[in-house]
């Protein structure tokens, strides 16, 4: 009840309070005229005197009640008397007389005392005129008591050309009075201030500060002494009894210093000391563990770091996703608004999202919720499914599906067609998946309870896979503040290890030759590079996948390098989301395309675990591990992958080793390199070919050649192939070779197993075909397809080489032709 205090409201009116309660602006104004008006204008001597008098007068007026015995006072009395006398005729007249008297009197005061006195006197004279009546109850008091709003004292202002309302004049008068009082004080202090640079005392130097504030350009930081890092003693003290205010201020100071380190640093203190101090302070202020905060400091620049930490203190807005299987967003929004929920569409990027600002009913208990018309889901959780872009009648695997939000989104995008296999390793959370999927009316889903790493063994060959890997949860600190302290190095590495395993399993579960798919989306709700870019980079090295754009046009790009690590350049197509920039949970999304079903073996590895690339030729499949994925995709992808993997090839030493080896071996004798080269070759072949058939054909084609060359061992063909391949590669030093080379390289490193497999296939095919009198035919076809031989090799080599030079296109025709021929 009662009058509300509104400090911004200007006090108007004739009353006392209007003049009294002026607050800050008075403080400022006191110095503004002092600093601004008078100093800004080049005042005439008269004006200066008048101004001085005004100031003095106000000071005197303040002083007079305080210090009746003050020095200026006696001096003023006679003036006052005269002033009083002068005043009678009229204000203006008084003013003029006052001025005159001031003028007369001026010399006296100047002689007598310092500037202050003079000012005071001048001011006080002026004020005397006005205040005297009030103070002295002279006959003129009534006249003076009549609030002239400082008309007397401000008549000079009028003379000076300012048109002020009476109230403004009164205000000025009062300000002048206060200014005088303050100026005395401030004058004394100013000198002190200037001498010492103790910024801690700046609060005390109120006028000083006001000047600074009014000056605008000057800021407190400049005025203050450069921020001093507290000594060790103080730090210990902080540890025991942290004063959050102080720490917060120190955080801001350090950030400001570090922003402009060259000029603001304290001598003798290194940057790392500041950073160390900042880390400790942030950890204390926001309650983080040291490890996590150190990681965050590596990740974000300082300005963003503070924003990020602040954003983690605040929960993200509640968002929900319309279930388009049952309703439309418009209808749902209408229904919810009728129930009393305040909501808005989520953004341009989502057609089904709604953000809830506030709600009078529990948003998770409305009849619409029970009827399955919507699902409460974080905005960032909608993104990976949008990136995955599932099509109708596809087979999709969701490896870590609980609580089922993403799975149901996939189902609604597929319109309940196709099949989704929703899997989770946690039985408790699976119950929520079951409940949610039934509630939302999803009918095309099978829910299973496997460890994700078992996946390709249980069932594979999916068109698309979504892997929302379990992570450290550093992106959702606002949901779970315990993450701030309970994560350390071991946890992150453990998570990363699990994620790598899961990702490899997921990749193996994708069918690269799927007509509409072959995609995998890997996402985490973490912002750590160890769990995101590192895992993705690992997968790129270990499997026949490449990164593709996610289709999300907003979000920050993933890192391609971070501290001492360097990642593949295509990692730029991954996306990172942060709570402080996008107002959604921290998230990382990467979309892979698998271009070959074969699994590259490590250099020393065997082909046991590798999967065959060729699946189009049933006759060669008998001995191959049954993964009927054609290399059609691989071929295409291979080509694309070539570019992507050019860098990878640099990392792939085995390839080079084998390359060299093979160069040395004309006919290929060692098996190790052959395997690699074979792999490369086969891979190159497969990569180059659009269809699985071509790849296989190439292998087949090579196959015949190999036995021709070396019929001793099974490895030999490979070796020979490799040799030939190598030679071809070696002979070619041209651009045409490069793709092949790169392919081979990449293939070599990436897919030694592939090599084995195709070789195996080719060998088998070859064996099969050797029985048929087709080899020469094939050879011829091969030769034809190969085009111009490049190297000075033997016939076989040249054949092989000739097969090499024509990348993709040739191969395609080749393979198709050869497949035709062979089949």
């Amino acid at each position: 009840m009662g009058r509300k205090l509104d400090p911004a409201k200007e006090k108007r009116g004739p009353g006392r309070k209007a003049r009294k309660q002026k607050g800050a602006e008075t403080e400022l104004a006191r110095f503004l005229p002092a600093a601004g008006d008078e100093s800004s204008k080049r005042l005439s001597s008269r004006a200066r005197k008048r101004a001085a008098k005004r100031r003095l007068g106000s000071a005197e007026a303040l002083e007079m009640p305080k210090f009746p015995g003050a020095k200026p006072f006696p001096g003023k009395l006679p003036k006052g008397a005269s002033g009083g006398a002068v005043q009678t005729p009229g204000k203006k007249g008084a003013q003029s007389l006052l001025r005159a008297s001031q003028g007369k009197k001026r010399p006296a005061p100047t002689h007598s005392s310092e500037e202050e006195e003079e000012e005071e006197e001048d001011d006080s004279e002026e004020d005397d005129v006005v205040n005297q009546g009030g103070l002295w109850d002279s006959e003129d008091s009534d006249a003076d008591m009549i609030d002239d709003y400082g008309a007397d004292s401000t008549s000079e202002d009028d003379d000076e050309g300012e048109e002020l309302l009476p109230i403004e004049r009164a205000a000025r008068k009062q300000k002048a009075q206060e200014a005088v009082a303050g100026s005395q004080w401030s004058e004394e202090e100013t000198e002190e201030e200037e001498e010492e640079e103790a910024e801690e005392e700046s609060p005390e130097s109120g006028p000083q500060k006001n000047d600074e504030a009014d000056g605008g350009l000057q800021i407190n930081v400049d005025e203050e002494e450069p921020f001093v890092l507290p000594s060790a003693g103080e730090m210990e003290q902080d540890a025991q009894a942290p004063d959050l205010q102080r720490i917060h201020k120190r955080i801001q100071d350090i950030v400001a210093v570090l922003r402009d380190f060259g000029t603001q640093r304290e001598e003798g203190r290194s940057r790392s000391e500041y950073l160390h101090r900042l880390q400790k302070d942030l950890a204390t202020y926001y309650s983080y563990g040291d490890f996590l905060l150190g990681k965050l400091m590596d990740l974000f620049p300082l300005s963003e770091l503070v924003e990020f930490l602040e954003a983690n203190e605040v929960p993200r807005p509640i968002t929900l996703r319309t279930n388009t299987l049952k309703t439309r967003r418009r209808d749902l929004a209408q229904a919810l608004i009728n129930r009393g929920v305040n909501l808005d569409p989520l953004g341009k990027w989502s057609k089904t999202g709604l953000v809830v600002y506030d709600s009078s009913v529990p948003i998770g208990a409305t009849p619409e919720y029970l009827a399955g018309h919507y699902m409460l889901q974080g905005a960032s959780s909608m993104l990976p499914v949008m990136a995955l872009a599932p099509q109708e009648h596809e087979r999709i695997l969701d490896m870590c599906c609980a609580p089922g939000g993403k799975t149901s989104y996939i189902a609604q995008l597929m319109k309940n067609t196709g099949v989704i296999l929703a899997n989770d390793a946690n039985a408790e959370r699976l119950k929520s998946v079951v409940g949610n999927l039934h509630r939302l009316g999803v009918t095309n889903t099978i829910i299973s309870h496997y460890d994700g790493r078992q996946f390709p063994k249980v069932v594979g060959g999916f068109d698309r896979v979504l892997l929302d890997a379990p992570c450290s949860g550093t992106g959702v600190i606002s949901k779970d503040p315990a993450v701030k302290t309970n994560k350390d190095e071991k946890d992150i590495l453990r998570c990363a290890h699990l994620q790598k395993e899961l990702l490899l399993s997921a990749i193996d579960s994708v069918n690269a030759t799927s007509k509409t798919g072959g995609y995998l989306v890997y996402c985490t709700c973490s912002i750590m590079v160890e769990e995101n870019e590192w895992v993705v980079d690992y997968a790129l090295k270990k499997r026949n996948v490449r990164l593709v754009p996610t289709g999300l046009d907003f979000g920050q790009e993933g890192f391609t390098r971070f501290r001492e690590r360097r990642f593949h350049p295509t990692l730029r197509s991954t996306r990172r989301f942060y709570p402080h920039t996008h107002n959604m949970d921290g998230f990382f999304i990467a979309k892979f395309k698998k271009f070959s079903n074969s699994i590259p073996q490590s250099q020393t590895g065997n082909s046991a675990a590798s999967t065959p690339t060729n699946l189009d030729l049933p006759e060669v499949k008998d001995q191959m591990t049954p993964k009927p994925k054609g290399s059609s995709h691989p071929a295409k992808k291979a080509r694309v992958a070539v570019k992507a993997k050019q860098q990878l090839q640099k990392r792939q030493h085995p390839k080079k080793a084998s390359f060299q080896k093979q160069n040395g071996i004309s006919k290929g004798t060692d098996s190790s390199s052959p395997t690699v080269s074979c792999d490369t070759k086969s891979q190159a072949a497969s990569k180059l070919q659009d269809s699985s058939q071509p790849a296989q054909k190439a292998e087949v084609i090579r196959g015949p050649k190999v036995p021709r060359k070396l019929k001793q061992q099974s490895a030999m063909p490979q070796a020979s192939k490799k040799v030939a391949f190598r030679k071809q590669n070696a002979s070619r030093g041209t651009d045409t070779e490069v793709p092949v080379l790169s392919l081979s390289k990449t293939q070599a490193t990436l897919k030694p197993e592939d090599c084995d497999q195709p070789l195996g296939n080719s060998k088998r095919a070859e064996k099969v075909k050797q029985q048929l009198p087709e080899q020469p035919f094939k050879k011829a076809a091969f030769r034809k397809q190969n085009g111009t031989p490049k190297g000075p090799e033997t016939s076989t080599v040249s054949l092989l080489s000739s097969s090499r030079p024509p990348p993709a296109k040739r191969r395609k025709s080749q393979s198709r032709g050869s497949s035709h021929l062979s089949s």
Partner: protein, 170 residues
């Protein structure tokens, strides 16, 4: 996961027939493919054959759910229909009860429907007939056992209209 035995099939169909009568065949032969019922851990799942093929690869102890759960068999081999079957029963329901908006909320949160909350009702609904309760917007709410019956005029004497069966939890 296994197909239903004869006995189980009979029991289940009897229950379902209470709500949809002879329209049972429509459940099996749908335009978008053949659907079938499978039993897994005492629960009956209604799946299309395409899904069934993939689900066959999953070992029994790891399979949690497939397609839609229609209901479950109790320990004494009675069949209990679940709310999740509503989407399939509602289109073929023979007897329907519409309730007023005011009674809808109360019904949804567990209470019986009184006569005063009744909006419309299919004619010739016998007592203890299985009905599907709808809201006035034709949104199916729940299949229920009807306590009172038939002609509207006679309902005046019987206050309770639909007895809400105990909630089915999953």
């Amino acid at each position: 996961m296994r197909p239903l035995t004869e006995e189980e099939t009979r029991v289940m169909f009897e229950k379902i027939a209470k709500y949809i009568g002879e329209n049972l065949q429509l459940l099996v032969d749908r335009p978008d493919g053949t659907y079938c019922f499978r039993l897994h851990n005492d629960r009956v799942y209604y799946v299309s054959e395409k899904i069934l093929k993939l689900a066959a690869n999953i070992s029994g102890d790891k399979l949690v759910s497939l397609g839609t759960c229609f209901g479950k068999f109790t320990k004494t081999h009675k069949f209990r229909l679940h709310i999740t079957a509503l989407d399939y029963l509602a289109p073929y329901a023979k007897y329907k009860v519409w309730i007023k908006p005011g009674a809808e909320q109360s019904f949804l949160y567990g209470n019986h429907v009184l006569k005063s909350g009744l909006g419309r009702i299919t004619e010739n609904t016998c007592q203890y007939q299985g009905v599907v309760v709808y809201s006035m917007a034709d949104v199916p709410l729940k299949p229920e056992e009807s306590f009172s019956y038939e002609e509207k005029t006679n309902l005046a004497s019987i206050p309770l209209t639909a007895y809400r069966s105990s909630s089915q939890t999953f």
